[in-house]
Symmetry: C2
Subunit: 304 residues, 2 copies
C-alpha cells in the first residue's frame, strides 16, 4: 500500500504560544509532498522534523490570515538559497502574488526557480492537482475572509487478480488490465466469467481532508464524508461559543459534531487559541461527541 501520511508542523491559531506553531502541515502520498498552509516558522519545523524542503513541489494556502502564510517568504527564500531550480506550484488567493512580488522587490531577491501561481476560487470547489495516484481538490469553507479547505483523495485502485483463477481460466496477459478495472472475461469458448470470480475488490481509496479555518458548517459534510482522516479546527471550547461565532471559528464540540455527521474514521483537532495552555479539556469536549478525536501533535506523522 502506498504511503499516505500527514505531519502537522503547527497547530496554534493566530498567536503562537506554548511552543505551538501557527498552521502548517505536510501531506505526503507515495513520494508526492504537499505543504498545506505555511505559518511563521514552517521552515524551522520542517528542519526540526528532518523533512527535506526540496521535495515539496506544491504549496496550498487556505486563506490570507497571517498565521497561515507568514512563513511563506522565508521558505521561498530558503528554497532559493538551497539551490532549487525546479518550478514550485503555489495555490492561493490571487493577491498573495502581490505580497510576494513587493517583498521580493524591496529585499532585492530574485528567486532562481519559477513560481507557478494558481489563484484559487472561493466560490466553487476546484480540482487543483491530479495524477495517476491522487487528486487534490478544494472545499469552500465559511470564514471571515475567503477560505478553502483541501481534500486529498487517492485515485480508485485496480481490483486484485486471483492468481489461481487467472491460471484456471487461462486469461491472456493483454486482458488483465481490463479485469483489474472490473470487466468480466469472455473465455475462448464464449463463456463469460464474472469479474468477481477472477478478482478481489480493490483496496479502498483513502481520503484526507484539511478543513482550514471555518465556522461550524454542515455544508462541508458531503466533501469530507467517510474520509479516513480529517483535520478540523477547534480554536475554542464551548465556553467561548460567542467568540467562536464572532471570529467565524469552531469549538472542539463543533469539530467533533461535523466529524460524526460525516462518518469520518478519525478526527484531528488543531488551530488552538493561545488562551488554552492545557488541551486535555478541549479533547474531552470533543470526546463527548466523537470518540475517534485526537489532538494535533506537532511533528507526529499520522497515517491516512
Amino acid at each position: 500500500m502506498d504511503a499516505f501520511d500527514v505531519t502537522i508542523l503547527g497547530c496554534s491559531s493566530a498567536t503562537p504560544a506554548f511552543g505551538r506553531y501557527p498552521t502548517s502541515q505536510l501531506v505526503h502520498m507515495a513520494g508526492r509532498y504537499f505543504l498545506v498552509d505555511c505559518g511563521e516558522g514552517a521552515q524551522m519545523q520542517l528542519r526540526r522534523y528532518s523533512i527535506k524542503f526540496q521535495r515539496i513541489n506544491h504549496i496550498f494556502i487556505s486563506h490570507l490570515h497571517g498565521d497561515h502564510f507568514f512563513g511563506l517568504m522565508g521558505l521561498l527564500s530558503s528554497l532559493h538559497l538551497l539551490g532549487r531550480t525546479e518550478p514550485l506550484h503555489l495555490y492561493a488567493e490571487a493577491s498573495l502574488k502581490e505580497i510576494i512580488d513587493v517583498t521580493n522587490k524591496h529585499s532585492r531577491s530574485v528567486l532562481q526557480y519559477p513560481i507557478v501561481f494558481h489563484p484559487l476560487s472561493y466560490t466553487e470547489s476546484q480540482v487543483l492537482f491530479e495524477d495517476e495516484k491522487l487528486t487534490v481538490s478544494t472545499v469552500v469553507v465559511k470564514h471571515s475572509i475567503p477560505c478553502v479547505g483541501f481534500i486529498f483523495t487517492e485515485k480508485p485502485k485496480p481490483r486484485k487478480l486471483i492468481k489461481e483463477e487467472i491460471e484456471k481460466y487461462q486469461v491472456p496477459v493483454e486482458k488483465m488490465e481490463a479485469l483489474k478495472h472490473g470487466e468480466d472475461f469472455v473465455a475462448a469458448d464464449g463463456k463469460v466469467i464474472p469479474n468477481d470470480v477472477l478478482t478481489l475488490p480493490a483496496m479502498p481509496s483513502r481520503t484526507y481532508a484539511f478543513c482550514a479555518d471555518t465556522i461550524y458548517d454542515e455544508e462541508i459534510i458531503p466533501f469530507i464524508a467517510n474520509a479516513d482522516l480529517v483535520y478540523h479546527e477547534a480554536t475554542f471550547m464551548e465556553d467561548m461559543r460567542d467568540r467562536a461565532k464572532q471570529t467565524m471559528h469552531s469549538t472542539a464540540k463543533d469539530a467533533a459534531t461535523i466529524a460524526k455527521k460525516a462518518g469520518v474514521k478519525k478526527l484531528i483537532i488543531g488551530h488552538f487559541s493561545a488562551r488554552y495552555k492545557e488541551l486535555g479539556p478541549m479533547l474531552a469536549e470533543a470526546h463527548t461527541v466523537f470518540a475517534e478525536t485526537y489532538l494535533a501533535e506537532e511533528g507526529k506523522k499520522e497515517n491516512v
Copy 2:
C-alpha cells in the same frame, strides 16, 4: 547601576539551520526594550525566553534582507491580537512600509495601534532615539543592499558626591547638581574647592554596538571604538573568504580584527552560515586575533 543587556534571539544567517534562528535581538536598558532586527520566528523566541512582547516600543531593522525582517509581520500581528494600543516605533528602510501595507491589506488586518514609521538614512549616521539615559544611533555599513548598524550608548553619568566632603565644606543642596556635572565649589569665604575633592568620577557610560551585516570595513571603527560589547557578524570562516567578499559578509577573523582595532572590551560573533554545524572552529579562528570573542548563544542575556 542600570541594567543594560542584550538577549540574542537568533544567530543564523540567511537560512535557519541546526535550531538557530535568523537575526533578531532584544536590547534592554533600564526598562527600555528595543528589538533589533526581526527574523522569522522572533516572536516564538521572545515567548521561549519569557520576554514580554508589549514592553517593546521600538523596532530597528538594519536592512531588508528577509532573514532580518521576515518575522516582523507575525510580531506586529501578535502585538495587535494581544491588545496593544500604544504606538510602536519602527525604524527601517522606507520601502518596508509598502510591504507592511500590502500585506495588511490582503490579510484584511487593521492594527489597533499606530505604527510610527521612521525611514532610515543609508548615507549618514543618525540619532534615532534619545532620552535622559540612552542614545541610539546608526552607523552606515557596507553590505550588498543598504544597511546600518545600531549603537546604544548610555548618556554621560553624573559624578558621585563624597558625603563627608560635602558636609565638611557645607555645600548647600542647590549647588549639588552642578558638582555632579564637574563644577568646582566656591565656599562662603570665597575659597574655591576643586570638584575632584568633593566628587568621585562618574561611572563610565556603556556602549553596545550591533554591526549588522557587513563586509570587513575599518570605517566603522570610530563608531564602535572602546565599546563594552560589540556584535559583529561572522557569516563565514577564512576558508570561505571569496564567498564572504562576494556576498559582502565577514569572516570570524574579520570580526575579531575589527574588535581588536576598535579596542572593544568584548565581541560576540553571530550570523553564522548554515554550512557550519559546529561553531568551535569559528570561535578558534576569532581567538587567534582577539581573545575576548564569544559565540552568540540564543536566549542568553549578555550584560553590556
